[in-house]
Symmetry: D3
Subunit: 232 residues, 6 copies
Amino acid sequence: MGTPSYNQLGIVKRHIERADRTAAEALGRFGSATVHEAMGRVGLLKPYMRPIYGGAAVSGTAVTVLLHPGDNWMMHVVAEQIRPGDIVVAAITAECTDGYFGDLLASSFMARGAKALVIDAGVRDVRTLTEMGFPVWSKCISAKGTIKATIGSVNIPVLCAGALVHPGDVVVADDDGVVVVPASDAVRVAEVAARREALEGEKRAKLASGVLGLDMYDMRGPLAEAGLKYVD
Amino acid sequence: MGTPSYNQLGIVKRHIERADRTAAEALGRFGSATVHEAMGRVGLLKPYMRPIYGGAAVSGTAVTVLLHPGDNWMMHVVAEQIRPGDIVVAAITAECTDGYFGDLLASSFMARGAKALVIDAGVRDVRTLTEMGFPVWSKCISAKGTIKATIGSVNIPVLCAGALVHPGDVVVADDDGVVVVPASDAVRVAEVAARREALEGEKRAKLASGVLGLDMYDMRGPLAEAGLKYVD
Amino acid sequence: MGTPSYNQLGIVKRHIERADRTAAEALGRFGSATVHEAMGRVGLLKPYMRPIYGGAAVSGTAVTVLLHPGDNWMMHVVAEQIRPGDIVVAAITAECTDGYFGDLLASSFMARGAKALVIDAGVRDVRTLTEMGFPVWSKCISAKGTIKATIGSVNIPVLCAGALVHPGDVVVADDDGVVVVPASDAVRVAEVAARREALEGEKRAKLASGVLGLDMYDMRGPLAEAGLKYVD
Amino acid sequence: MGTPSYNQLGIVKRHIERADRTAAEALGRFGSATVHEAMGRVGLLKPYMRPIYGGAAVSGTAVTVLLHPGDNWMMHVVAEQIRPGDIVVAAITAECTDGYFGDLLASSFMARGAKALVIDAGVRDVRTLTEMGFPVWSKCISAKGTIKATIGSVNIPVLCAGALVHPGDVVVADDDGVVVVPASDAVRVAEVAARREALEGEKRAKLASGVLGLDMYDMRGPLAEAGLKYVD
Amino acid sequence: MGTPSYNQLGIVKRHIERADRTAAEALGRFGSATVHEAMGRVGLLKPYMRPIYGGAAVSGTAVTVLLHPGDNWMMHVVAEQIRPGDIVVAAITAECTDGYFGDLLASSFMARGAKALVIDAGVRDVRTLTEMGFPVWSKCISAKGTIKATIGSVNIPVLCAGALVHPGDVVVADDDGVVVVPASDAVRVAEVAARREALEGEKRAKLASGVLGLDMYDMRGPLAEAGLKYVD
Amino acid sequence: MGTPSYNQLGIVKRHIERADRTAAEALGRFGSATVHEAMGRVGLLKPYMRPIYGGAAVSGTAVTVLLHPGDNWMMHVVAEQIRPGDIVVAAITAECTDGYFGDLLASSFMARGAKALVIDAGVRDVRTLTEMGFPVWSKCISAKGTIKATIGSVNIPVLCAGALVHPGDVVVADDDGVVVVPASDAVRVAEVAARREALEGEKRAKLASGVLGLDMYDMRGPLAEAGLKYVD
């Protein structure tokens, strides 16, 4: 949690380099699991981050916000920095389960064009958020409100749920979790993911017809070599 | 968890002072998040308390029961004390995840007029409970049954999921969590919540139209004073 | 977690004694809570094991697999040992939250006739699994993939989520959790469960009509004897 | 955690009724386990509360303080309310692991006559505290500092680590944990504990000589009646 | 947790096959880490099992006891089954943190010749236990006492902290944790551990003199083959 | 956990910029709590990181290593990159409690001049490590060994226990926890810490003499302004 850089508290960075929009959108179509594989199995937020409702699947460019425990003042500051297609990634300087975000802020974020919120803390008004169709991935749900007393920062690199997120990175989130792709690598990862995806359709058909992965992937030799023994 | 008063084990209090019914019903309409704010951000049960199905939203007056780990005998005792409009609040004297409550007890509670169960332990038969439309907020779901061997108490003050609940208090529960309002304060809190709610509709419309919270709440001055700096 | 028998690593047992199919199917109709009671309140997996989607209810015979952290190689080996009506029970030699299983493996498992997966780790592609109607009970959901580098074992006794599962045992899983019945005891437990179930319908009707459990179960005497006191 | 009484934020109660000093001291000699038994097995803080160094054993009268997450301002306010023989019991309005207390505050507390601190959060400077001989029971140890921005309350009833503590109650803390005895009940509990203790010396000698509890407590009959069977 | 065998509740097995005493003692000298390796990296209890004081290192043969949550009645039953050189392994049928064991029971266990207790729950009187020199590995420390109301079983196979323990198995416990060796395999594992240990002295000397593991184990080739790249 | 940079797997960086040695040593004298304050309350690893024995207090320059779950192969690779005065900071790509490090590796690390290990996983041989005087801060202690099968990286930025650590950064660790200071900022932070420390001695003397923090810090006015009320 928190920020990796101690001297950036109280700063709002207005101009950030956003990842290529086409790549960001393409990555969303592959989903978090495929993108995570295409990245080389890194970039994933911890699995305690769950969607507040099932079925949502989004991708977008990160605007980041660093908040203090029990204080959501900077949520209003980050709102102004949102551009259409962005996903707000909120980190807290210490562990906290309070409900930082509800339907009022969601109205504001949607008006600015935000596609989702990813927050390493709690949110509330989840029924209204679900009706509004504004997806959130969070650590928990809590009716506990927050105050507005301490400043944090916007668009600095943050550690959110065990992952480092830079402003402008691509965020891909769905029922399987949330993955972050560095902006500079989005195009390449999208290509790797596309190649991976192309192979999967064919494999799925084979497996569904009863072909075993043991045969399709030629695993019998390596398994025997590794010492696997069949007994009756 | 447990009881705050060591010398009340084995007691069933039959006559309790219930909160004003109109206030209890009004509080339910505002929801747990608004009520929690109107209370001054106290009275909330810990966020691990979750509904067994989404979308339920209730309020009612608490009848309380203190149970022992793995023993649900007192659930039958509390059933008799339920009056229409009550919500049963069940605390355990130690941490326990067993399934204390299922469809049989739910039939009984519903017949007595109970609106919901809030329990700092587990419940089971959740599919049937969902079909019956009897909402439960619990720590977990578990098929593990309990025995009937040790007596506890009914309608004493209990600590449930980190909150002190007196019999007769108002309980408000929905998708955001569970909040408790002291009976003597229910009318006042309902008024505060109503004022708060009245302001929110207008704010929501403004924010949805693109007005920033920064401007609507006049935050730019205080933020600058607190040291917030904008950089490029 | 893990295997109770240190010298069975790297073994695939091809012939296992499966529980009586009729008993296995009957047990599924009673559900995990009733079966757990009929067993004498043992055999339950820990309540952190949750279904990836609500409403699924299955029973079947266990084929077991022991995997290493972050390595799902043996999932392809166990696929070949599945017979129609089986449920795969996957244990890991250490705690792990990775996503061991997704839509490709599910296609393969379904083609082999598997009814479900129970895994003490994570799974992914949960939206697709839901669409396919392949139920999974797991510790968590995670997009994090696994490698194929180390062999484990298939059809040895495993410790899964705090329960010992032998290949061929009956697995009953639904919204309340997962319970395991030893193959040799399946017929007897099914009979106990049937008797139990027969009594419940009548009880439910009585309780729903307003009869109290206190009276239906003749509890007032024992409660008084245990020291319960009613006060005003 | 937190306060059970919503309308007492921002209050310092100067005059509190402290438990009988002789009883408080006597309770300390029996230790937390014996006192907890004498209370009827209630009054215990959760077992995550651990001493920062082994071997400390204290008792005293509670002065309570309710703090906000990450904010230790009220620690200076409570210091003034300490009288010789007191133990400060600190609760937080939300879960927090920050280090609220270190060697400077310990110097102040000791100068006022405090015997210990019990805090449902973190502390720091533990090596210096150990050298100073000021015992602390806490949820964790953390170098993370706190701010001084928000007021709480002093000498109101608080929920600390799952127990309700009123100012003036007796606190008994040692290597086994922390137990709270209501001020009004301290004399009676001390008497029960004394009787209990008197019996234990004799029992210990018998058991150490090889007499079995089975025989000393005449358990063989009840065990057989409960169904216990011996097999070879 | 719990028992793997549903129909063994309420049974005390008097005659058990204990592992070879010489092998049991030899295994203790190697320590839990070496024994765990010699076993093929299985047989370990979960790492939350910690000694109540540092420096203890024991081995012995298991007598097992299965207890109910909050109930230590069977502790007196198992005491009678202890023979000199035994270690009591206590499992609970559900998660529980209560203090099942204190100085009285320790006096009894020591009088019977027990070398230690391993318990998947809490213990108390830890200062006295430390002074008595009776080592315990437990999940936690808690002053909370238990009742004596429900029977369990003695000397049946139990699941303790994630490991299956049969009566008579060798238990090795020290500062690194607790490992269980099947009785039938104790001699073989002791031999493997002895060979392993013999090699370690020489390796330790080489590494201490500055030789790198990279060279001592000839790892540079395999690392390069695996793709490791050195950059400046 | 893990690495923030997806494309650096399988890399060993030989030349890193280490923080100023004098500043690194000075920071160690102030301790983790004071350094954390001097940093502006950032840079701290999560409080679950605990020393394996009390009283150790070190500072040094970080060499980092990224490992896979259950695999300590890279520990031998990082050993070669250690220079006198370094502290090894080990991160894992997923949560893991295995014992990655014992007395053999400690012999090697000490021979290379390492001052300590900080690892977001488990270690073993803790009694021997304590006798050798090699301090370790870890998430847990576990006898469970690891394999050597998969390569990771050395001297890349890693996320360890919630903090971002660059090779060459200053690590300060003691009984209060572990804090990381960016190499480029070590001199400045040491100066801030020195000024802070100078003030503390005087304050401690005042507080020990009975002066209240309320008066020493002139808090009475701000508290009253914040609304604090004294009652009897």
